[in-house]
């Protein structure tokens, strides 16, 4: 027996056709769309209405945390064992800020990266898409449009028909 697919994958041979297809799909009313491309395609985010600014904010937060976290450590250690170092003041702000800056950078870099992987749900070594024969070309020179079964408008037959109307190179069901 053939069970319900997780979604349908349509293959195009360049990014322009993919973009047009994606536009069409959205106009058709499909919402849970995704595209798989060998490189970030200009304008795809706009077409698929992807607006995710969390990455930037993560970086800001991480930066702040790093800066003030280190500053706190420095203030604490100098308060805990105050020592006269070359007649310099105990709270040598200019000297402290140097290291604070470094740790700020560290935080501002690590948090968005960790965040990105978390939001992407990566690492994810197993994924149904990998079972689809031609999907491996998504990392080479092929461009795929994907409509997920979770889409309210999704219907095995009609969606297939719609996609075929976009004249893709191939159409495949993504099977569990």
């Amino acid at each position: 027996m053939v069970e319900k697919p997780l979604g349908i994958l349509a293959e195009f041979d360049n990014q322009d056709r993919l973009l047009d297809a994606a536009k069409a799909a959205r106009n058709e009313g499909y919402r849970s769309l995704d595209a798989f491309t060998p490189f970030p395609v200009e304008g795809m985010s706009e077409v698929l209405r992807i607006r995710d600014h969390r990455i930037g904010w993560l970086s800001v937060i991480g930066g702040f945390a790093g800066f003030f976290g280190m500053l706190l450590i420095q203030l604490y250690v100098n308060a805990d064992f105050p020592l006269d170092v070359g007649g310099r003041p105990i709270l040598a702000w200019p000297a402290f800020f140097v290291v604070d800056f470094e740790i700020m950078v560290l935080g501002a870099v690590l948090t968005p990266i960790i965040g990105m992987f978390y939001l992407d749900g990566l690492p994810q070594l197993y994924h149904p898409l990998f079972s689809t024969p031609r999907f491996s070309l998504a990392s080479d020179d092929r461009f795929f449009l994907y409509i997920d079964a979770s889409d309210p408008k999704f219907d095995k037959e009609s969606t297939r028909a719609f996609l075929r109307s976009l004249e893709p190179a191939t159409i495949e069901d993504v099977i569990e």
Binding site: P38, D80, V98, D141
Partner: protein
């Protein structure tokens, strides 16, 4: 019209193949094997050297009072400088939207990583009691004593650690999509598992690409000031002392520029070698070398300005000790290092005004080599000429590099090349997807035009 970064006849698939084949069907086995054996021998030399060093003490080096810093510290500065180009190329040029970077950034960053690792090792092995290096970190010890955050050395530890981490992750997230590409090209299961794991199951989803872009650019934006800060702090390790020849405000920019300069030279050398060895001529084109050479020339001229300014600064100060140090740099027993730096960093460089030279791989390689040597001499000069005669004649002393100075340094070169060779062998050493991006854009343009 502007010259293209990549030839139009190249297709996306060819890029995958060109780059992917390097790890998958390794083309240059013999030269690689030879290089690997050599650099492993150097690693062996390094291990012997530090074993002896740890067994007996830093006295095995030619150090003394006053010249109690020499090779380890000047090489620390030098290695770190070499590293800088990687980050600059990938971050700064990314932000500037320079397409030509995309063929160079990957291995430039790898080179950065290896160089920073070497740079990180140097200050630790130069300690009198290296087994206590962890006292530099603020951990709650039963001693109740903490690190001293006013010390430039303390700054450097954090700077280098941050720089290492950032370079690593920046390099890796750029690598993930390409690892996925290779994973999908791979036939043997072993390869597919290997690349499958390290590509973290990347699928190239539009949503992921969107986040990836934001993330990558954010890191790039932060990486640029980081690079500048790192070598500025290294320079403060000297400028914070009152020793004539060190105590100068020119040092931070002077060091950063020098670093970039030597770094670009290193990148040029590696680019030429790899291009030749792996027939990547289509991706690392003459144009890339041309641009690289221009950047080299530019940063070289700025470094030269640094020399001029440093001398002028010393003379203008009117301080007898500063002037004495300048004099010693010109005519003292270490004059060879000063004039060596001036010559190797400036003279051959001028050939790069000629387009033909910029595009002649052999000449460019030689010039780059001369720059790397020149910067080596400059760092050496900055340390020794300032330390060996500072203020009081009764404390003047001379430094001779000992056998172990040299063996540790030469061995360190192996520590640099071994991981780099592993990189070129097993990891796509040119950014596949970014080149595809460029190619696609060029197709667009040509289509419209």
């Amino acid at each position: 019209m502007v010259e293209r970064a990549l030839p139009l006849d190249e297709t996306l698939h060819e890029i995958s193949v060109d780059v992917g084949r390097v790890p998958l069907r390794f083309p240059a086995r013999v030269p690689w094997a030879i290089a690997m054996v050599l650099s492993l021998m150097l690693v062996g030399l390094f291990l012997v050297s530090i074993t002896y060093l740890f067994a007996r003490g830093v006295g095995v080096w030619g150090l003394n009072i006053p010249v109690n810093w020499a090779f380890a510290i000047h090489l620390y500065v030098w290695w770190l400088g070499l590293g800088h180009a990687g980050t600059l190329i990938s971050a700064m040029l990314l932000l500037m939207g320079q397409d030509w970077r995309n063929s160079l950034n990957r291995f430039a960053e790898a080179m950065t990583l290896c160089a920073v690792v070497c740079a990180g090792i140097e200050p630790i092995i130069h300690l009198g009691r290296p087994w206590f290096f962890y006292w530099m970190f603020p951990y709650p010890a039963t001693m109740g004593v903490w690190p001293q955050f006013r010390s430039p050395l303390e700054w450097d530890i954090w700077a280098v650690l941050t720089y290492l981490t950032v370079s690593l992750v920046f390099w890796y997230i750029g690598l993930v999509p390409d690892l996925a590409t290779v994973r999908d090209r791979a036939r043997r299961r072993g390869w597919r598992v290997f690349f499958g794991i390290f590509s973290l199951g990347w699928r190239g989803s539009a949503l992921h690409w969107d986040r990836w872009r934001r993330c990558y650019r954010t890191v790039a934006v932060i990486a640029v000031p980081l690079v500048v800060s790192v070598h500025s702090e290294v320079s403060l390790l000297f400028a914070s002392g009152q020793i004539p020849g060190w105590h100068s405000t020119i040092f931070p920019p002077y060091f950063v520029l020098g670093a970039a300069f030597s770094g670009f030279a290193m990148v040029a050398m590696i680019a030429i070698v790899m291009r030749h060895t792996f027939q990547l001529g289509d991706l690392v084109t003459e144009r890339h070398l041309d641009v690289l050479a221009k950047v080299l020339l530019a940063s070289g001229l700025m470094t030269a300005y640094g020399y001029v300014f440093e001398v002028w600064d010393g003379l203008y100060s009117g301080n007898v000790h500063e002037i004495a140090t300048i004099h010693d740099r010109f005519f003292g027993i270490y004059a060879w290092s000063f004039w060596g730096a001036v010559f190797f960093n400036f003279v051959p460089l001028q050939a790069l005004w000629l387009r033909s030279v910029r595009r002649n791989t052999v000449l460019l390689f030689l010039i780059a080599t001369s720059v790397v040597v020149g910067m080596w001499m400059e760092r050496y000069m900055i340390l020794t000429t300032s330390l060996y005669k500072d203020f009081l004649p009764s404390s003047f002393g001379i430094y001779h590099a000992s056998f172990w100075d040299w063996s540790t340094y030469i061995g360190m070169i192996g520590v640099f090349f071994t991981p780099f060779l592993l990189f070129v062998r097993y990891i796509p050493s040119i950014s596949i997807f970014e080149d595809k991006e460029v190619l696609a854009r060029e197709h667009e343009e040509s289509g419209n035009g």
